[in-house]
């Protein structure tokens, strides 16, 4: 896999992970191009696209689009399930994950992704093992004073789309 992007229906980038060296300028250009391309597609269309010499695999969960770029010989369907497994991991960790969880806890979203995928390849596909690694890390930390659960509804009641669980629709 060359990169993974998470963006909202409004085209706001929520997470970007690059597994190939690219300049910031190139990254921005690619992001713009892909967000536009994927958002223009209709719901029942197929999840795969040819783009430059890569294949794009994307899927929408509630208000968020998950979009991966893979190489020619990579498997589209298994990539679709990589996306799904990542959503499952987020869901399990946050407890019924929604877009706001990813906005407010973006660093966690990156940590979970690093445990699951490394260098663009699946590192650990067992849900239990990934969560175990993350939770162990959480137990290691000492600063317990500022623990809060950022209830999205409280912080931002108007943005209902962002607070709907990714698995709901």
């Amino acid at each position: 896999m060359q990169f993974m992007l998470l963006f909202s229906r409004q085209g706001k980038l929520r997470l970007q992970k690059w597994y190939v060296p690219l300049s910031d300028k190139e990254k921005k250009k690619i992001t713009r191009e892909l967000v536009q391309m994927v958002l223009a597609r209709k719901p029942k269309m197929c999840s795969f696209l040819e783009w430059r010499d890569l294949k794009i695999v994307y899927k929408r969960y509630a208000s968020l689009y998950f979009c991966c770029a893979i190489e020619d010989q990579d498997n589209e369907l298994i990539t679709l399930e990589i996306i799904h497994r990542y959503v499952e991991l987020l869901d399990k960790y946050f407890g019924s994950v929604c877009e706001l969880d990813i906005i407010f806890n973006f660093e966690k979203a990156y940590f979970i992704l690093d445990e699951f995928l490394l260098g663009g390849e699946a590192q650990e596909t067992s849900k239990k093992n990934v969560l175990k690694a993350i939770e162990q890390a959480d137990l290691l930390q000492e600063n317990l004073d500022f623990q809060i659960r950022l209830f999205p509804g409280v912080l931002n009641p108007s943005m209902s789309a962002e607070s709907s669980g990714l698995f709901q629709s």
Binding site: C46, E81, G95, I103, L118, Q123, A137, L140, L150
Partner: protein, 977 residues
């Protein structure tokens, strides 16, 4: 689950993010960010030492700002400081910042590498993993230099924790991708390969990605992984869905690992060890079988995971390309998916079938789905699926279905999405050229392309049609007539004007006899378009006009007047003005002879490779057009152009985008390039008969040196069918192909053409006969990019044929390079009349597999005919003399071709007899006479063919001085009409 409560919320960060989200405008957001940046900067610069938590919080805010798309130019040092914190979350944020915002500042890199080194040697697995993740995320050369030596050690050490091994494997993979020269596996190779046997599925899943990448670069060193991968795969495939616990995903055991194993195996040829291969074939069969089982879950995740493995297995089957059984099963499975309700599966099935189409074992099976694919092209709602359907149609196209596919693509083009039109146009142009048997069809197709999608027809496409028309004199008249008609349309595309201008300028004379397309009519038609055209097209038209002056002296004054007009001779465009001035001068002062020399018809183009194919390749990116396809295209292109080595005399006419196609800008050498009209070496093989081209070939002296082409006479016959691949494996000569009689029949009335063609091989024939002697040239073309080895051919005369025919062959070279063609000469002497055909057996090895096929050599008794002219009276006298019942042979049969007079005449002439006019009292009937020359005797033959147009029937009667000849000729001829 309140998992987040275990995490460390950073309240300040949450508030900041919330503030940003509440900003109503971009300006407000920037203002808020600048305020925050100022705050953070002052904190970092302040005297008071910040505690770890604050540092972490501010670094995290900077990261957030950067990810929003703003530039960050400070904070790196604070992030590096966090790396050496002994608090995990601080370290974690430090590493995240470094991973996202890596800076090539060498001072910083040294500090970062130091921190990583400490963590790697800490023996704390969570710290080690963080450090490895950072290396894998950054993957810079500096990091490779620092750690490429250390990580393999961590990977294979006995006491390394599983999770660290997983990270180490993928970290090494990333470093190998950026700096392969720095990652030396050497002594570690076999221990890395043995990670495939690791008990921990996660370790195998991570390690296999590394092994696959290394195997691609050093297949020999890693080849022991094949048997390990097969046994691992076999264990997974045969396990129950619960055996693998958490590695089972929606009832599918280890789908990621299975896909990766199948992918690894695609780096190698099929296993040589029979047991390993057997086990693997079993796995592949099991995977194919599972596809037919009812699903264990209705969830899409279940079917996706299952089908991901299935598609990867099919990719491996296609990669091996050696198991016909599996290939056909794969094709059937994909066939089912073509009509699946899931768009994703339809898309993937179309994509996967594209590669299957290029395998000789499955090409035919893929072709059976043509209707479904055409339907997909018409009805799929998603353009990317339609694109796949178009790709597949292109891949499955061959001679047998080219007309249908091209027609469908053309009709799709009328409504096709703009994004794929140009590519579709290129594909149609390539297919039309590659499979043109009938060049008028080719010309029609390209002109249709211009009509339907003129804007998307690139220069390469219209250059190409002109090159082909110039190189093939049998289509020039047709082309002139067709463009003339196309130009009648009130609005025609500028590309049509270009093609029309060029072709009428060269070949307008071929249709000038018809008063409806007289020279002046042609000129007026072209000139009516002139004012609507762009400068380059006008320039081309001016050149066409000067060519008209040479072709049709009667148009000289009209054209001179046009050239002399202010709008030409004083045109503000320098190019147009110069042409007008020069052409006007040329036409006024040059003598007819000089004019004829300077404006001679263009010599044939020497180019051998289709420039369109190169363009498509460029458009689709490397890998889109396979090498073999290019090779094939090159070869086919060569054929179209007459191929062969033409020497450099005509090289000046190679078109380049800037060069004037008419070559007038460099007109001087043109005359010397084409002085061949009066050549003494008249093409001995050139076809005669009414359908043949004009008697004097421009390049006739070259043509007889060249490999056979789909020559003009094939207009009369059907294209040769795409014969089934010869899959006989025995070393003994194979029995003749079932279609060999049919192939033989195509050569009864012609001497040259393609005898046989399949995915690998094309056999062309050129032959000539004098008296009872014949000489045949066989051209064996290797259509692949791989060499044929142990190539041998034998000609045998079975049964009594060996006393009737004397056939001598010279052996051929045993090696035929990919894309090459070898020639073989066969001398034939007819000793006495005969009925059977000699057998031609061809054997060779292609990629190790023996190919063995037998054809009938098209030597038939009629080849030894000498035509005999005679008057009506003589004919009927001899007819009566041959009145014994056994001397006559008669057949009544249904017409299997259109009953076209010219075609029938051409075939009878091709038979070798004289066609006698005004002999039969019924002018509808045909009568012929000839003498067959054998060494032993001469056999006189008379023929009468009576068509009944109403009943679409023929009655054929032969009377010969020898009964066996009557019968044989009657049998042969009954198949021709």
């Amino acid at each position: 689950m309140p998992a987040v409560s275990k995490g460390d919320g950073m309240r300040g960060l949450a508030v900041f993010i919330s503030d940003i989200r509440n900003c109503k405008s971009k300006e407000a957001e920037i203002k808020r960010i600048n305020k925050e940046l100022a705050n953070i900067r002052s904190k970092f610069k302040g005297d008071k030492a910040l505690d770890g938590y604050s540092k972490k919080k501010y670094v995290c805010k900077l990261l957030f700002i950067f990810l929003l798309g703003h530039d960050i130019d400070f904070g790196h040092m604070e992030a590096v400081n966090l790396l050496s914190s002994n608090k995990y979350t601080e370290k974690q944020i430090g590493y995240l910042f470094i991973s996202v915002l890596v800076n090539s500042n060498s001072e910083l890199i040294r500090l970062i590498n130091n921190a990583i080194k400490n963590d790697l040697s800490s023996r704390n697995p969570t710290f080690m993993c963080l450090a490895l993740h950072c290396i894998a995320n950054v993957g810079s050369r500096e990091m490779a230099e620092a750690f490429a030596g250390e990580i393999p050690r961590i990977l294979v050490a006995g006491d390394t924790m599983d999770s660290v091994k997983q990270s180490a494997a993928l970290c090494l993979l990333r470093l190998y991708k950026t700096s392969p020269d720095l990652v030396l596996m050497g002594e570690w190779t076999s221990r890395v390969v043995h990670l495939l046997n690791d008990q921990h599925m996660g370790v195998v899943t991570a390690a296999i990605s590394l092994i696959t990448c290394l195997s691609q670069k050093n297949p020999d060193e890693f080849k022991t992984c094949v048997s390990l991968a097969v046994s691992r795969l076999s264990r997974i495939v045969s396990s129950a869905s619960t055996d693998l616990q958490d590695y089972t995903y929606y009832f599918v055991p280890a789908p990621w690992l299975s896909c990766k194993l199948l992918r690894l195996l695609q780096c190698y040829p099929p296993p040589e060890d029979g047991a390993v291969k057997g086990r693997l074939v079993e796995c592949l069969e099991t995977i194919l079988n599972k596809a037919q089982e009812p699903p264990k879950s209705k969830k899409v995740q279940h079917s996706n995971a299952k089908n991901a493995i299935l598609f990867e297995a099919i990719a491996l089957i296609i990669h091996y390309d050696s198991e016909p059984n599996l290939l056909v099963r794969a094709c059937n499975q994909l066939g089912q998916f073509l009509q699946h309700r899931e768009t994703n599966l339809r898309y993937l099935a179309l994509e996967s079938m594209c590669t299957l189409a290029s395998s000789e074992f499955s090409h035919e099976a893929v072709k059976t789905h043509i209707e479904t694919v055409i339907n997909a092209l018409k009805t799929e709602r998603d353009v990317s699926v339609r694109q796949r359907a178009a790709d597949l149609l292109y891949a499955m196209c061959d001679r047998s279905n080219a007309k249908q596919i091209v027609a469908e693509m053309l009709s799709y083009l009328e409504t096709a999405d703009y994004s794929i039109r140009e590519e579709m146009v290129l594909k149609v142009a390539i297919l039309a050229e590659k499979y043109a048997v009938d060049y008028s069809w080719y010309v029609d197709t390209i002109l249709n392309l211009i009509r339907i999608a003129g804007d998307y027809v690139s220069e390469e496409v219209w250059y190409r049609v002109i090159q082909i028309v110039i190189n093939r004199d049998d289509v020039q008249g047709y082309a002139a007539k067709t463009v003339f008609e196309a130009l009648q349309a009130p609005a025609c595309h500028e590309n049509m004007v270009k093609v029309g201008g060029y072709i009428l300028g060269e070949f307008g004379n071929l249709i000038a006899g018809d008063p409806r397309s007289s020279p002046l009519v042609q000129f007026n038609l072209l000139h009516s378009k002139f004012h609507l055209c762009s400068v380059p097209t006008r320039a081309l038209l001016l050149s066409a006009y000067i060519k008209f002056i040479n072709l049709f002296p009667e148009t000289k004054s009209t054209i001179q007047e046009v050239l002399r007009s202010d709008s030409q001779i004083r045109n503000s465009d320098v190019e147009l003005q110069q042409r007008a001035v020069e052409y006007l001068k040329l036409s006024s002062i040059a003598s007819t002879d000089v004019l004829a020399t300077v404006l001679e018809e263009m010599p044939p183009f020497p180019e051998r490779e289709s420039s369109i194919l190169a363009k498509l390749k460029k458009k689709k990116g490397p890998g889109a057009v396979s090498v073999s396809e290019l090779e094939e295209g090159k070869r086919e292109g060569g054929e179209l152009n007459g191929g062969g080595d033409r020497g450099d005399s005509s090289a000046i006419s190679t078109p380049s985008p800037s060069a004037d196609l008419l070559g007038l800008r460099s007109a001087a050498p043109v005359g010397s390039a084409a002085p061949s009209a009066g050549s003494l070496l008249v093409d001995v093989f050139s076809e005669s008969g009414p359908a043949a081209p004009a008697a004097v070939n421009d390049d006739g002296f070259l043509r007889d040196l060249e490999p056979p082409t789909e020559s003009s006479d094939s207009l009369l016959a059907d294209p040769p069918p795409a014969a089934a691949p010869a899959a006989v494996v025995s070393e003994d000569p194979a029995p003749p192909l079932p279609e060999s009689d049919e192939l033989l029949n195509k050569f009864v009335c012609k001497n040259n053409g393609v005898l046989f063609e399949n995915q690998l091989l094309q056999i062309g024939i050129k032959s000539e006969y004098r008296q009872n002697l014949g000489r045949m040239y066989l051209f064996y073309g290797n259509k692949t990019s791989v060499q044929f080895v142990s190539f041998s051919t034998t000609v045998t005369c079975p049964g009594e044929l060996h006393v009737q025919l004397n056939v001598q062959t010279k052996p051929v070279e045993p090696l035929v390079e990919g894309g090459a063609q070898v020639q073989q000469v066969i001398n034939i002497e007819c000793l006495s009349d005969f009925s059977d055909a000699p057998l031609l057996n061809i054997k060779f090895r292609y990629g190790g597999a023996l190919q063995n096929l037998t054809l009938k050599l098209p030597v038939t008794i009629n080849k030894f005919f000498q035509p005999t002219e005679m008057a009506s009276h003589d004919f009927f006298q001899r007819w009566k003399q041959l009145s014994q019942p056994q001397q006559e042979s008669q057949k009544i049969f249904k017409a299997s071709h259109a009953m076209d007079t010219e075609v029938i005449k051409a075939k009878l002439l091709g038979l070798g007899t004289a066609l006698l006019e005004k002999v039969d009292p019924n002018p509808e009937n045909y009568v012929c006479a000839g003498v067959i020359q054998t060494k032993a005797q001469q056999v006189g033959c008379l023929l009468r063919l009576e068509p009944n147009a109403q009943a679409q029937m023929y009655r054929l009667t032969l009377r010969c001085s020898k009964d066996t000849v009557s019968k044989r000729l009657c049998d042969l001829l009954a198949e021709q009409f």
